[in-house]
């Protein structure tokens, strides 16, 4: 016997959670673009999207965030800190790759400095993931040793029912159990079958890739130039990626007052490593693409024992010149380590 949430009860659930003070967020398609956005009723969700265009990252690490304000007067300088938001949220209908992406970045944001903005949001947000029953040509979670029903980073996992009328509920964490208490009486006991999971073929051999990347001789391989020649350095891959986390600080304002902001940045940009002197240690696009791959599959796992990729496939799906992690790792896995 398992607990079941029927789709026709979802409207009630949304109302309950909202009444309990939670902002309800889920996959929404507006005009031509999809994202995780705030919903007011069940009809606002679009569960038909394989994966929202924009990843879940922005809900925890927004593209721009005020950190500090300053005012400078004749005799004194005053600063004020912006506090992390305390809003309580529930994300209903996250994808496994997106939820995993958050868990992948947790050690990064809590390593030598604990990023309050990230963790405050992480602690105040319940993540209800819906296992995928369909995938597209770009999905590759299985190549990263994850799956359409991975529980990593999720507080509750829902499995769509075979009859398409709702979901099997698996509560995974206390945070998840707490949120589902609000709707406990709306759940049913049942023995319905879960729909089959999406079939996501493995696209490359991750271990072979990692072995090749770890060999220092391959750092200067001509492979990097060949594979990345068409990259235009647009940064879409990094901005859409649920695990890419680089940022920059920018002061906006004038000599007398302004705001210091934390903005997304990208290793694909030539400016990213540009020194004040004009020297750029990563002066070519191939050096930048190598950095992105090395960081994800060599340096990051070297430090945090986990690859910085959850296989969402966005980097290939949205690349204007059809590059991406998939092609590069497919090519690497055929090379001699």
């Amino acid at each position: 016997m398992t607990r079941i949430l029927l789709s026709d009860k979802l409207d009630n659930c949304v109302a309950r959670w909202r009444k309990a003070g939670l902002t309800v967020i889920g996959p929404v398609k507006k005009e031509t673009s999809s994202s995780y956005a705030t919903v007011e009723k069940a009809a606002d969700f679009d569960f038909g999207i394989v994966l929202p265009d924009r990843s879940i990252k922005g809900l925890f690490f927004p593209q721009t965030e005020p950190m500090m304000g300053y005012t400078i007067k004749k005799q004194d300088i005053a600063t004020n800190d912006f506090a992390p938001p305390t809003e309580k949220r529930i994300i209903f209908g996250a994808r496994s790759c997106d939820a995993s992406g958050l868990a992948i970045d947790d050690p990064l944001f809590g390593w030598d400095y604990k990023d309050d903005f990230w963790f405050q949001r992480r602690n105040e947000t319940v993540i209800v993931t819906i296992a995928c029953t369909k995938a597209d040509d770009f999905c590759m979670c299985t190549s990263l040793k994850l799956a359409p029903d991975s529980t990593k980073g999720s507080d509750v996992l829902l499995r769509p029912l075979q009859n398409n009328k709702g979901w099997l509920v698996e509560e995974l964490t206390d945070r998840g159990r707490e949120a589902f208490k609000e709707i406990a009486d709306l759940l049913l006991d049942g023995s319905e079958q879960a729909a089959p999971l999406a079939v996501v073929p493995e696209k490359f051999n991750l271990d072979a890739c990692v072995a090749w990347l770890k060999n220092p001789e391959n750092f200067d391989s001509t492979f990097w130039k060949e594979i990345s020649m068409r990259c235009i350095g647009c940064g879409s891959c990094t901005f859409l990626c649920p695990t890419c986390h680089c940022f920059d600080f920018q002061d906006e304002g004038d000599t007398y007052s302004g705001i210091r902001r934390k903005n997304w940045d990208s290793c694909s940009f030539s400016l990213f490593t540009m020194h004040t002197s004009g020297h750029n240690p990563r002066s070519t696009q191939s050096a930048r693409w190598r950095q992105r791959i090395m960081h994800k599959f060599n340096y990051f796992p070297g430090k945090f024992s986990v690859n910085s990729c959850s296989g969402c496939g966005r980097c290939t799906r949205q690349c204007p010149v059809d590059m991406g992690i998939t092609e590069t790792l497919q090519a690497i896995s055929t090379l001699k380590p």
Binding site: E31, D53, T64, G235, E252, P320
Partner: protein
Amino acid sequence: MSIQEQYKKRVRELLSSGAVKMVIGYQAGTTADRRRPLFIRTPEEAEKLVLDSACIANLSGYLVTEGLLSDEKSVGIFLRPDGIRSINILAAEAQLNPEQVVILGFDGNDKEVTALQGEKARDFSAIIASIKEHAPEAPRNPQLEQIEKMSPKERFAFWQAEFSRCIKCYACRQACPMCYCRRCIVDSNQPQWVNTSSHTLGNLEWNVVRAFHLSGRCVGCGNCDRACPVNIPLRLINAKMAGEVLGAFDHFAGMSETQEPVLASFKKDDSETFIL
């Protein structure tokens, strides 16, 4: 022989005779409907070439890759008329020497492509002139007409909503062959001319800067629109600005290698309706 096979043969000839050091074309992509840029450096590599109606990206931006043309050798490139127009602009703005660009021209619709005769950008001037000729009566985007009918307030709200999605990745800029500056004004932080943050004001500023900077230079290839990861309909802005420039200054971008940029030139009979 299909156009693809004809052009493969031509690419092999160009490379084996040493007429060009490289040909920039298209190859198959991740999915059946995708094409990837291809850099062909040996006659054998020409085998990978694909040329069909799915080849839509304007590849001319690759020509201004740092150092590519500095050895004075020629490069071949597959271009549609919009791409050829961008070669003219790049030449007119002193970004490349058009003598070094060997054009493998083609045009077509969403079903098939046909070859265009010519080699140097100037060989295609008749085709470009006829596109300009027909520009005023070309079918207009229905969404653009809708937007034009809106009140200024509604129109502002429409664009605010669209730009609210912008994440300031600048993919639109990187994908545009006309955006070749090594250091864009928005990347400058001493002084910071434009807000770098992706908030309401910053997004609006960026998109307005882009629209104006491409006025009279945009060739309507659609690279920016296709690159935008959040699908902001940039094509509407480009089309609007191109129409304005054509109407007010009779300027059609990329007519010739010597055409003066509309925003950087002055004619005595220029319309001055906005100056009191």
